[in-house]
Symmetry: C2
Subunit: 271 residues, 2 copies
């Protein structure tokens, strides 16, 4: 069991009295689990909740807003409207997590330290489940970057597609938390401004070698060889990490030799 839920407002004297809004949030959460409500099910209407909790409209609305931000419900107007149970989207979960990591100043190295062990795992766990449609999607993505980019924009699109390749692989994993983590790391790489600077550099990753690895991966998955898939990605990640780190070093160096005051803030930001 975790901690703060259910049990009645602790009469602990010193503690500041529980705020009405938070009480209602918890009460609604309990209502959800007790009634076994699932996605699509509707909560009582605003005015019924007001009656049920003997609370003011504003208070109930704040509680519903809190639940909405947590991705637990969504609210619709109109007849038949009201608060409906939702399952949180992956995108919202990632945004919320980004808020947490915002202050933590992540580096490329931090992210690749995880990627290099997780991507091989996720590829192995996807291997038994990916179907021909998935493999075709992967091949289509490779075609986005199997040639020299015409300009900086295309180069950037190619880098994003390269990350999407791994995102599609993760989609077929049967391990939800592993897949989520890998996809989150990919999003982080898209968002980190340092990474963005790197992506407009020429050749962030050796093209032929990267594509070769990815084609080998597709072949390995096609013959359901999870072990090979994992090994290929281990090599691929080591290579990618190497490229990113040397590029980051070069980039840093370039900044250090520039004018003392770079125009825009260099603070790394996420989301």
């Amino acid at each position: 069991m975790s901690e703060p839920d259910s049990i009645t407002p602790p009469p602990t004297a010193g503690a500041p009295r529980r705020k009405r809004t938070d009480e209602i949030v918890d009460a609604i959460k309990r209502m959800i689990v007790e009634h076994g409500l699932g996605p699509g099910d509707r909560l009582p209407q605003e005015r019924d909740l007001i009656a049920q909790f003997a609370a003011g409209k504003g208070t109930v609305r704040e509680a519903l807003k809190a639940l909405e931000v947590q991705g637990l419900i969504s609210v619709r107007t109109g007849p038949g409207g009201g608060a409906f149970i939702e399952r949180m989207s992956e995108g919202r979960a990632m945004s919320l997590l980004s808020n947490f990591l915002f202050a933590k100043n992540l580096s490329i190295a931090n992210i690749y330290e995880m990627r290099k062990v997780l991507e091989p795992q996720v590829a192995a766990s996807a291997t038994p489940h990916i179907d021909e449609a998935g493999l075709n999607r992967l091949e289509a993505i490779i075609r986005i970057y199997d040639h020299e980019p015409a300009d900086a924009t295309e180069r950037w699109n190619q880098r994003m597609a390269e990350l999407d390749f791994h995102g599609v692989v993760a989609e077929y994993s049967d391990n939800p938390i592993l897949a989520f983590t890998c996809r989150f790391l990919q999003r982080l790489l898209k968002d980190l401004t340092i990474a963005q600077d790197i992506y407009v550099q020429p050749e962030p990753v050796s093209r032929e070698s990267g594509i070769r690895h990815q084609r080998e991966l597709i072949a390995a998955m096609r013959r359901r060889d999870a072990k090979a898939a994992s090994a290929i990605l281990t090599e691929h990640m080591a290579e990618a990490e190497q490229h990113m780190l040397t590029l980051q070093a070069k980039l840093m160096d370039r900044f250090l030799t520039e004018d003392a005051a770079p125009a825009r803030s260099r603070k790394r930001r996420i989301a």
Copy 2:
């Protein structure tokens, strides 16, 4: 001063008009980044925000509630009170993430698939940074479970302490996202009801072997041998995973041979 909101709501016909509350949430977020506000800094008071946005009190309060749930601000009453910039706590980030994974039905195997590659990494990254105080904390934790438990409660406490051991190791990692992920996986293990059932079984993990690994880890960290630390944890995790999976299998088997309708819901729940 300048302008930036003013631009009228995108005349996109089909799109449902932007809700006032969400506009204010975004406006405040922009205010935070534009003014470069950091933890501890104060936002304008409620009544000033009401004036500034020409909005109703309830609307502004809903917006502040949304920001509060996202962990971006906290609000205090009294003189000098108001909304203050916060950095999201690790605990809140974990709760939010749990909400996302709630519906995903994680298994012990899913979690250990990640733990077995991440715990070695996090130990290696902590090795250069852990100090004598940290090593002493680890030794103190081991003492909680270096002996046979007297009853089921103590057995459960011992299992929790065993997870805390790895949590402390992660604290000393210099990789924020890796450390967070490991600690989150540990929390998941504490919360999964299936795991809870396992923990009250005798000997969820071979005691002597586990403690031996952990003592070896402390020794390796003390001599700053990151490679050894990583190798020890690889072995430790493989062993722990094995124990957990066989215990889970036994547990499942026991349920299958019980009455058809077990008393309480077996739905795995998180948080």
